[in-house]
Amino acid sequence: MDQNQRAPLRQRLVSWLILLLGGLYFFVPLIATIDFSLRARKGVLSVLAYQRVLSDPRFASAFTFSLEMALLTVVVGVILVVPTAYWIRLRLPQLRPVVEFVTLMPFVVPAIVLVFGLIRVFSRPPLLLTNSFTGTQILLVAGYVVLVLPYLYRAVDTGLQAIDIRTLTEAAQSLGAGWWVIITQIIFPNLRSAILSGAFLTITIVMGELTMASFLVGLKAFGPYMSQVGQNRAYEGAALAVISFALTWAFTMLFQFVGRRALGGDQAFGAR
């Protein structure tokens, strides 16, 4: 009995130790970065580096550009993924493994291969897109949609799993609804939390993306801009890293908050 009680205590100590090590691994570089970013002025702590970063017009323009690309990616991705995932669950369940494999491609094919492929195919007729800025933006969003597929598809598919889409679809059909009404009024609203979580993941990924953005639009995007600042100016680079980290966390918290609220709803749906 005594020993039984002692064993969990030792286990708990080990758990705490592992947590502590993990925490150090995570926080030490972060604290070091924050500390370094505050030392742009010699001898004192100051927010000079942050002021410089935020007052650089290229920061705002790169940030807004990437945010726009991220939002476009969300819109295109959701329009593509939600009906597809819905239809596969409803009518083509035998195709699920195939689609899941396709959505995992970005993990197998590196972004650099994807972007070179895109550039090769779309830099000559009949599909010439790389000669205009709009064209490259289209390519960029298309590339991002592929890149975020694993996250978006999985989030939406899990959301679909949580609701009985077959019966809801049949109920709507028996009430006279066609496919457009079913998808827009039943499927989308009930997937809200899943779509939101997929959307926030998409935004965080796109905001920091470097490879595709470098080759297609260069410094106009936030990723390449961050990378260049980091290479050229040490303190500003550190400040930018902290800002980007804070933004990512803000998005994650927002997602957690929305997700938890929606989860309350999901649990209630589960009790049907």
Partner: protein, 352 residues
């Protein structure tokens, strides 16, 4: 011609024939149940009427028009599901209004119909609740109102009470019948629960392995089953092997006991047949004009209104259901008893 007419309907899923040669005529305002064990094809048949499954062969004719291949959203047939299937993102009022909004009815009419439906299901005041804020029974009433709001030509109910507690089930059962009769709506009800089917329906369709076994009023299918399956599936049945002694006068022998049954001239003297009768026809003691047989009590189950006595008749177990009364002297296991039953209660199943 009948209001709803189902002709030679069959449905094949791969190698299995889920429904075979199903024929049924349903009159306007009739309440018909499809009753059978799981896998008997009752739900598949219902889903073909709803339009969710396309028949392999056969036709479904509703109000003079062939709807066999019409998409479900153009059939104007209401459906209530076992899992309620309320739209989780919509309030009670919006759920009920859904079909009317899809049909682009004027807002004034929608509001009026929703109010009427809430009155009908006795849930006025619940219009702004969400489905997850309702109990199972309330959700199923809302689902019923939602299906009825579009004034469907036929109401289909797919095991609507299976997910509910026993007490709620009985209450809602009465509610469904009341609403169906108030509106005079044609209803088809799928269930594996014989009590539901018998208590609700004008007619019961008993199905087994994709085929109709018998169609009839609850009284007919219970008291005059036409197949061995119907006899054994609906209600309890005592089976006693006997030898035909005199077919013209309806005399059969069970060991040393001679039973008087209905004359059965088609049988031969000396033929081995099975006597079937319901437990409620069997009683204890001697009563003039009845058949008698001796047995030993195995056990006694007190079920409230009924006392079910299991009796051993020379190695053959039978059940006798006695009505409870306060003066009843309950038999005890091991007691030797005399069982009586009336001649007309028995029907004869010839083997093979």
């Amino acid at each position: 011609m009948a209001y709803l007419s189902i002709r030679n309907l069959s449905k094949r899923f791969g190698q299995t024939l889920a429904v075979r040669d199903f024929n049924l005529e349903v009159e306007r305002g009739e309440f018909v149940s499809f009753l059978g064990p799981s896998g008997c094809g009752k739900t598949t048949t219902l889903r073909m009427i709803a339009g969710f499954e396309i028949p392999t062969s056969g036709n479904i004719i509703l109000d003079g028009a062939d709807i066999t291949f019409l998409p479900p959203n153009r059939r104007h047939i209401g459906m209530v599901f076992q899992s309620y299937a309320l739209f989780p993102n919509l309030t009670v009022a919006d759920n009920i209004a859904f079909g009317l909004k899809v049909a682009k009815r004027p807002p004034e009419e929608i509001r009026k119909t929703v109010g009427e439906m809430l009155d009908l299901i006795r849930l006025s005041g619940f219009e702004n609740r969400y489905p997850y804020q309702l109990s199972g029974g309330q959700q199923q009433r809302v689902a019923l109102a939602r299906a009825l709001a579009i004034h469907p030509r036929v109401l289909l109910l797919d095991e609507p009470l299976s997910a509910l507690d026993a007490k709620i089930r009985v209450e809602l059962r009465a509610e469904i019948r009341r609403i169906q009769q108030t509106l005079g709506i044609t209803a088809i009800y799928v269930t594996h629960d014989q009590e539901e089917a018998l208590s609700l329906s004008d007619r019961v369709v008993v199905m087994y392995e994709g085929k109709i076994e018998q169609v009839g009023t609850p009284f007919e299918v219970y008291n005059y089953p036409q197949t061995r399956f119907v006899a054994s599936f609906i209600g309890q049945l005592n089976l006693i092997p006997v030898i035909v002694e005199d077919p013209q006068h309806g005399l059969v022998r069970f060991g040393n006991f001679l039973f008087q049954v209905d004359p059965a001239p088609h049988l031969n003297r000396g033929q081995a047949v099975t006597l079937a009768l319901r437990p409620e026809e069997m009683n204890l003691g001697r009563v003039e004009g009845r058949n008698h047989v001796e047995g030993r009590v195995l056990d006694v189950m007190f079920l409230g209104a009924i006392v079910r006595v299991r009796v051993d008749l020379q190695g053959r177990e039978v059940l006798a259901d006695l009505f409870n009364e306060r003066q009843l002297a309950l038999p005890r296991p091991g007691d030797q008893v005399i069982i009586n039953f009336p001649p007309h209660a028995c029907w004869i199943i010839s083997e093979g």
